[in-house]
Symmetry: C2
Subunit: 277 residues, 2 copies
């Protein structure tokens, strides 16, 4: 019948009532985010009386939103995206181990007493998304563009996959230095260095910046040096095919779009939220 | 097909995405509210990429929620219920005419510049709900229990229906006196008085308090004097049949449940929100 048939519609939660539990994704901009579609589908599949809504908030208003999250007695969790992932880490009460390691938060839940627990599933989701598409990072040379919240999360998770080497590029030297230092604390024998956005000699290139959300953006790497043997990865969700991915495909590179990183973490984040199947 | 078939399921919005516009109902408690079911059905019927979620908030946290409402750039409207309808009137930027008249707000929208416009559709919804069930108030003697936000809204709207007389009961003498004074300013020749919760001589009795949400509550009127010729109305949504309505039906009175008041205003509030069919 109709209600059962609707299960197949992406983005559809169970029918709402006064007992529906509330989740939100915070971002600026917000229209491009895939979380409402993916999480509401997952909530419904798990039979949860819950909904995840998009919440468009400017950086300066983040404390007001976190205050409302604390005050909302049926408001159980947040997903956090660009540009709030770093700033919001300072507004929660406790950080999980991956969030502490990367200094960025992309999920927040409440514990039994209402304290806010932040953690980061971006890196886990990124690696899981690659694995699901058959890509292994072990023994590979990896170039990461961007040392912000996503760049941190992705590079720490990649490090745990035992690549041969990691290079990070960022125009912000302080941020870059901080990340390199943090990575080296967990690197074992793996070479971690900073360097230019030059893909020569790398097996995998990952764009962890927002460069490519607009079609007028430049390429985030030195595109002229890109070889077909390099796997090109973008974490941008919208457009699904960024100028970087489009040009990489034209050069016959394997490509991997941003949606896989998000899809890779939905089930793990549902578990984190305590929404059981 | 599946998506179209789902239209018939109460409480189901269109599938959510990053472009979904956000609405919320504020209340304490919240689990009993009917608005998420009714408004999401209406939003979907109107083809609106919008969702209305329940938001459980304690009175002392109301300013924090209004701040988050102002900050949410895709957060377009609020429905407000017990016990916040009076307090929230002081937190908006402008009141519509009915909200000014009753001193209570049950809906808030943003204007083009982000200013918050509060108004009150409770009374309009109440009268419309009665009319839809065939009940006229013209020339009737009406007893209203409760001079709070809902009692104000309902009595002002009833007054505009030209009853023969209105009596209001409330245990709070100040609140009662304020309402009586306000009603008399709009009464013309209609007798408006305060008095005991005694149904003798009244054609219609309306419970506008929350007495009856718990089965252990006393009756809000002197139940022993209730005659079968009196129409008994309750505005409580949950339970749908309050102890008052149950006892009134047992005494063979006509009864009218709270849901009709809410159903009566959904379409008008969608228009107020700018969600066109």
């Amino acid at each position: 019948m109709s209600d059962q048939a609707a299960t197949d519609t992406p983005g559809l939660p169970l029918p709402l009532s006064g007992q529906t539990r509330l989740y939100a994704i915070l971002g600026d901009p917000i229209a491009q985010v895939g979380s409402p579609r993916l999480f509401n589908t997952a909530f419904r599949r798990r039979g949860a009386q819950a909904v995840l809504v998009p919440f468009h908030v400017a950086p300066e208003e983040l404390p007001a939103i976190v205050a409302a999250f604390r005050a909302g007695l049926n408001f159980d969790g947040l997903v956090v995206t660009v540009p709030h992932k770093i700033a919001i880490a300072g507004l929660v009460d406790e950080l999980g181990s991956m969030a502490r390691r990367v200094g960025a938060v992309n999920v927040i839940r409440k514990d039994g007493t209402g304290r806010l627990i932040g953690d980061n599933f971006d890196g886990v989701g990124f690696v899981y998304g690659l694995r699901k598409r058959g890509h292994s990072l072990a023994g590979k040379r990896v170039l990461i563009i961007g040392a912000g919240g996503a760049g941190c999360a992705v590079s720490h998770a990649i490090l745990d996959e035992k690549p041969a080497a990691l290079r990070i590029f960022d125009t912000d030297e302080d941020r870059l230095g901080g990340l390199i230092g943090g990575l080296r604390a967990f690197a074992g024998g793996i070479a971690v260095e900073s360097g230019p956005p030059d893909p020569v000699g790398f097996d995998v290139v990952v764009n962890c910046t927002s460069i490519g959300m607009k079609t007028s953006d430049p390429y985030p790497i030195r595109i002229d040096d890109l070889k077909a043997s390099t796997l090109v990865v973008d974490i941008i969700l919208k457009p699904a095919v960024t100028p970087l991915l489009e040009e990489a495909a034209r050069r016959e590179c394997a490509v991997h779009a941003g949606v896989h990183m998000l899809e890779g973490q939905v089930e793990a984040v549902c578990d984190f939220f305590g929404i059981t199947a």
